[in-house]
Amino acid sequence: MPKDILKWVIIGLAIFVAVVLVFGAGVLVGGMKARFSYRWAESYHQNFAGPRGGFFENWRLPPPGDFIEGHGTFGEIIKINQSDFVVKGQADVEKLIIINQNTVIEKGRETIKKEDLKVGDRAVIIGSPNEQGQIEAKLIRVFYVPQNI
C-alpha cells in the first residue's frame, strides 16, 4: 500500500514537472515571438522605407494573424542590399536579414559568398533577432529551385 502511494506521488510529480516545463517553454517562446513582432512592427518604417500598406497606414500595427518568428525564417529573397537582404516569407511578411562575417551561406553542399545570392532565390535563414526587428543570420541555406516549373 505505501509503495502504491509512493508510485502515484512520483508519477504525479513527474506529470507536474512535465506540465510546468511545457508551459514554461510556451511562455518563453511566445514571449520571444511577441517581442520580435513588436520590434518588427516598430521598425517597419525604418527597415523597409515606408509603412506597410502605404504611407497613410499606421506602421505600428502588429503583423496580421499570429506573432512572427525571430529565430528563423524561409521564403523568397526580394531585395539585396550591401550587408543585408529582404526575404518575403509566410503570410507575405517581409523580414530584413543581416549578414555579417560569421554568417555561413550555403547552397546545397557548397559554401557560397554573399554576392552569389540572387533576387528570387528561396532560402532558409537561422539566426537571432535584434532590437531593430531584424534577424542577424548565422546560417543561410539557399535551395535549388527546379527550372521549368
Binding site: G72, I126, S128, R141
Partner: protein
Amino acid sequence: MGRVGKGSDPGQTLEGCTESILFFVLIYMKQIKQIEPPAGLFERIILAIKREQELRKTKRLLFSFAGLLVVSLAAVPFSLALLVSRAESSGIIYFISTALSDLGIFLTIWQNFSLAILESLPITALLAFAISLGISVFTLRLFLYKKGLLLKYLKNYA
C-alpha cells in the same frame, strides 16, 4: 346470494351454474395458498434482473464506443491534413531538413535551431491531431478489452 357488483349486468343473478363456478374458484384459491414456490425462484428472478441490467449497460457501452470511434476516426484524417498544411506553411519542415542535412552547423548553432523549430511549431494542429488520435486509440483499446462482451451482445441481439 343476490346481485353482482356495480360493474356487472344488473339483470344477471348468481344463481344456478354461476354459483357452482364461484364454489370451484373458492376451492382453487384455497389450493393456491397451499402451493409453495419452487426452490431457487427468487435467485433466478434476481439473476434475470441482473442479466437484463448488464445487457442494457453493454448496449449503452456499445453505442458510446461506436459513436466515439466513428467521430474520432473521422477526425484523424482531417486533423492530419491540417497538421501537414500548417507544418508546410510554418516552415518547420525546412528548418528540420536544414538541421539534418548539416549536423555540424546544427551542433554549432543548436540554440537558434531549437528556438526556430519551437517558434514554428503548429501547436493547435498538433494538439488537434494528438487528441483525435488519442481518442481513437483509447476507444480501440477499450473495444479490444471488452471485445468478448460486445461481440456476444452483437451476436445475440443484432
